[in-house]
């Protein structure tokens, strides 16, 4: 949390002054600062954080999600912001449930375009206003969202008929089908 602020309290005060009651909760640990904000306000918050003269958190370094099944709300979408000049960092989280949409930030940050597509591909979280929300890593025929906790990790969906090749002589090695 190097940068313009001497103490974490000063940083938090500046953030609270800027974002007000859109902050749901906050925590800090060993120099990290994390805010949980209201889902509907996240695009505005990120815009303000990028523009504010004392903060200028205008680089989005990461946009990802976590599945906390069986908690409700189930997902958290996590944004990592950086001020490139002062190395000031901030983490913003929003909590969404299955079926809820999140406002897109791809109009503010170009990198968010592909990062939101990845979150959609892996978790199924829809981003309202995204210009091209479709799968990015997996193929269109793939059904489901594999990083969800209720997707079986080994459940492959082959695109072509697999050969039934058994390269062992008599019995398969241990653990093989």
């Amino acid at each position: 949390m190097a940068g313009a602020f001497e103490t974490g309290e000063a940083y938090l005060a500046a953030l609270q002054a800027l974002l007000g009651d859109t902050i749901v909760s906050q925590h800090a640990h060993r120099g990290d600062m994390t805010l949980v904000v209201q889902t509907s306000a996240v695009a505005d918050c990120l815009e303000k954080l990028a523009a504010a003269p004392g903060l200028q958190l205008d680089v989005l370094t990461d946009l990802t999600a976590v599945d906390y099944l069986p908690r409700t709300p189930r997902f958290e979408v996590v944004y990592h912001l950086l001020n490139f000049g002062t190395s000031l960092r901030l983490r913003i989280k929003v909590q969404v449930d299955d079926g809820e949409a999140v406002p897109t930030v791809s109009n503010l940050f170009l990198s968010a375009n592909w990062m939101e597509r990845e979150v959609y591909d892996m978790y199924g979280i829809v981003f309202d206003g995204h210009p091209d929300l479709r799968r990015i890593l997996l193929y269109p025929e793939f059904e489901g969202h594999p990083l969800r906790k209720d997707y079986a990790k080994e459940a492959a969906q082959p695109r072509l008929e697999l050969r039934d090749h058994r390269p062992w002589r008599d019995t398969p090695p241990e653990g093989v089908g």
């Binding site: 890593l137 997996l138 193929y139 594999p146 997707y151 079986a152 990790k153 080994e154 459940a155 492959a156 969906q157 082959p158 695109r159 072509l160 697999l162 050969r163 090749h165 390269p167 002589r169």
Partner: protein
């Protein structure tokens, strides 16, 4: 492998027989000899094993001395497809398509554990061994395999091409017994 017997030392005798400038062999052996010493690799490289492929092909370890130096990046012009690195289900149809585009005779060499069996990726995305997509002639395990191991695999494949059809396991058992 001995290519055949040579004719007797005297060059031309009264019966007009030829000397040792002529080698007698079977046509299939001669053609196989030519094929194995002039393999044109198609390096289907997807991941980190590609680094080890490059190391093996470069001057320090050198694939050129096995005649397998010149890669052909068109499957129509290649005869040995090296599948190097992880293959995902997304990529599987394209691997099959490239294999189908190669003309006979063709061989496939699976380089590294990801191509051989899925490696340590036991998940929804990775094909658990490319032999589920294409027939494989030689498996080279390793993560990545050392260049020496790659060359060993290539030499064993060349023995296969020549027509020595013993399996690797049988050879090892035979060596152990003798």
């Amino acid at each position: 492998m001995e290519l055949g017997t040579t004719a007797p030392a005297n060059i031309v005798d009264d019966n007009g027989r030829l000397g040792d400038s002529v080698i007698m062999t079977r046509m299939s052996d001669a053609i196989a000899w030519c094929r194995k010493w002039s393999l044109f690799p198609y390096p289907f490289i997807t991941a980190c094993c590609g680094m080890e492929f490059m190391a093996t092909a470069a001057t320090h370890y050198d694939l050129d001395r096995f005649g397998a130096a010149l890669p052909r990046f068109s499957p129509r012009q290649a005869d040995l497809m090296w599948v190097v690195g992880t293959v995902t289900h997304k990529q599987a149809p394209y691997l099959r398509q490239v294999y189908d585009q190669m003309a006979e005779p063709k061989w496939v060499l699976s380089f590294g554990v990801c191509a051989t069996s899925g490696g340590f990726y036991r998940n929804y995305a990775t094909v658990q061994g490319i032999d589920k997509i294409v027939p494989v002639d030689m498996y080279i395990p390793g993560c990545p395999p050392r260049p020496e191991m790659v060359m060993d695999g290539l030499l064993k494949l060349m023995d296969r091409i020549q027509g020595h059809r013993k399996t690797v396991l049988a050879e090892a058992i035979a060596e152990g017994e003798s």
